[in-house]
């Protein structure tokens, strides 16, 4: 009897909706918004955001033969690319388009679903249509799309740097652009990459460096084999390499020189510690003296929420100097970046159909801890740094 009453109530609700809910007007509003703006999805990227389109970068950021999002009705002028080829790279000049100013403290948010190659959202966020994007410290950025990495210079010229197949790794299956470091191996710019390869018992992951100046790669300095877990983050500054590891429910940090030799520093959580504490995303400050990482006690989870502490760890004396708490809810951390003052945390969550990117959280570790606050764009975040840091 109660079942009938319940069904009747739900049927009345359906009737009410069918009778009283206009569909056309609201649909028209969505479609009208998308037609009004230069590129379809930009209406949703952040209110009154200024929009810049670096149209011709599409030639390098979007691999040939793959689907390209539809061109907007009022797309900006597309220049004719002039291409010069060297043995190491290809340079494409991008005509009248330009990149927005990338200033220290701003955030690059990589999202392959963006309809435009570069967009700005508010004063501090720049979206890039890519899987990953990291600042080059000179007003441009490096981007990863699929298994290729390109360099988009400040003048908006774009240059393909490397593809997975060219690195010389053994049976490679994928790469991940972790960041750019400017004080390692005496080079101005090195890319930090994680390369995966092999299958079954031959599976491995390695940390590689790509010397941007010399256009050459260095073989993996850190290697994990099958059944040894995975690398969740690799951070390199001033010759120090921190690897955040994950295996069978355990997480820990390992410290090395950039050349791959173990480094004797006070470790906030080493492999032999079995504390019920989850750590993730160990990131070095640009001067290499401080490690920032995320820490969570599983037992502290309430109602599915995920309380998380951001910990600042002084590598010189092995002390925790700061701790900032926030709740990730049902999100997991995809990537964190730190520039010595600001931190940004990228979020993802699993859905039936795959991973969903969330809006990153941006905070500041000054005397009055700010934030973290949610950015307008969803995707994989990294902070813009100063040249030479």
């Amino acid at each position: 009897m109660s079942d009938r009453r319940i069904r009747t109530a739900f049927e009345h609700l359906q009737d009410d909706v069918a009778t009283n809910v206009p569909t056309a007007g609201r649909l028209a509003r969505i479609l009208k918004e998308s037609r009004r703006l230069p590129r379809a999805s930009l209406a949703f990227l952040g209110g009154a955001a200024v929009v810049l389109v670096a149209g011709a970068i599409v030639f390098l950021l979007r691999p040939g033969g793959q689907s390209v999002p539809p061109v907007a009705e009022t797309a900006s002028t597309s220049s004719t690319a002039s291409t010069s080829t060297t043995s190491a790279s290809t340079t494409t000049e991008v005509g009248a388009t330009s990149l927005p100013d990338l200033l220290p403290g701003m955030v690059l948010v990589a999202n392959p679903s963006l309809d435009s190659d570069v967009v700005t959202s508010g004063p501090a966020t720049v979206g890039v249509a890519a899987d990953r994007a990291v600042s080059d410290g000179k007003g441009g950025f490096f981007v990863q799309r699929g298994n290729t990495v390109s360099w988009v210079h400040a003048n908006a010229s774009a240059e393909s740097l490397l593809s997975l197949e060219d690195l010389g790794a053994i049976d490679p299956t994928g790469l991940r652009l972790e960041g750019a470091t400017r004080n390692t191996f005496g080079t101005t710019n090195s890319l930090v990459l994680i390369i995966a390869g092999g299958e079954g018992e031959q599976r491995y992951e390695e940390v590689w460096f790509y010397d941007v100046d010399a256009r050459s790669s260095r073989k993996g300095v850190y290697h994990t084999g099958a059944y040894e877990g995975s690398i969740s983050r690799a951070s390199v500054e001033r010759g120090v390499l921190v690897v955040t590891r994950r295996a069978e429910g355990f997480t820990w940090f390992e410290f090395y020189t950039a050349a791959g030799r173990p480094l004797d520093v006070k470790n906030p959580k080493s492999m032999d510690e079995t504390l019920p504490v989850y750590v993730d995303q160990g990131v070095l400050s640009p001067d290499g003296t401080t490690l920032v990482f995320l820490e969570s006690n599983f037992a502290a989870s309430v109602d599915g929420g995920w309380p998380m502490d951001l910990v600042v760890w002084n590598l010189a004396d092995g002390t925790k100097t700061r701790r900032v708490s926030f709740d990730l809810g049902d999100w997991t951390v995809d990537h964190m970046d730190y520039d010595g003052l600001n931190f940004v945390v990228g979020r993802q969550r699993w859905r039936t159909d795959g991973l969903e990117d969330g809006a990153p959280l941006l905070g500041t570790l000054d005397e009055d801890v700010q934030g973290p606050t949610e950015l307008d764009l969803s995707g994989w975040p990294s902070l813009v740094r100063d040249d030479g840091k």
Binding site: F10, R26, G229, I231, R246
Partner: protein, 174 residues
Amino acid sequence: MEGVMVTEPDRSAGLSADTFEAFYRREYPKMVAVAAAVSGNRAIAEDLAQDAMVRAHRHWGRISGYERPGAWVRRVTINLSLSASKRVAAELKRLLRLAEPGTLPPPEAPDDSVWSAVAQLPGKQRAAVALHYLEDRSIDEIATILEISPATARVHLHRGRQALATTLGEASHE
């Protein structure tokens, strides 16, 4: 060892040929009903459903390739509705606390005792009940939409229906 490489979800199977417009016309009214049932607030249901649809449009390039774009938009609608119901409850509590004694009437229970009983259910049970009664969803479909195991979906639905029956003063008829 888990692979950690950045990979795109496999969208080779079951690609949806829907345009966003067709998807919207088919799903939006259903989402309004889901939002009304889960949030317990008919007045904000249209906005909640619209918000979910705006998000679907924003990511349509990706979502349209999913095997079940409808499951995605239901999940978002339910999440938004549960958040909204908490927000509305908190706001009401705040208003009652701020108000001078006697100046604000106590919250009225919904006229229909069924909706009053639904509103008392925990979020996941409310969502399972709504999907069952509104859309006649199977346990497996509810599990897919709520991203829980079928066994958990069965428990949520069973407990929800049992609680409704108890609140309405009658035995549950499974």
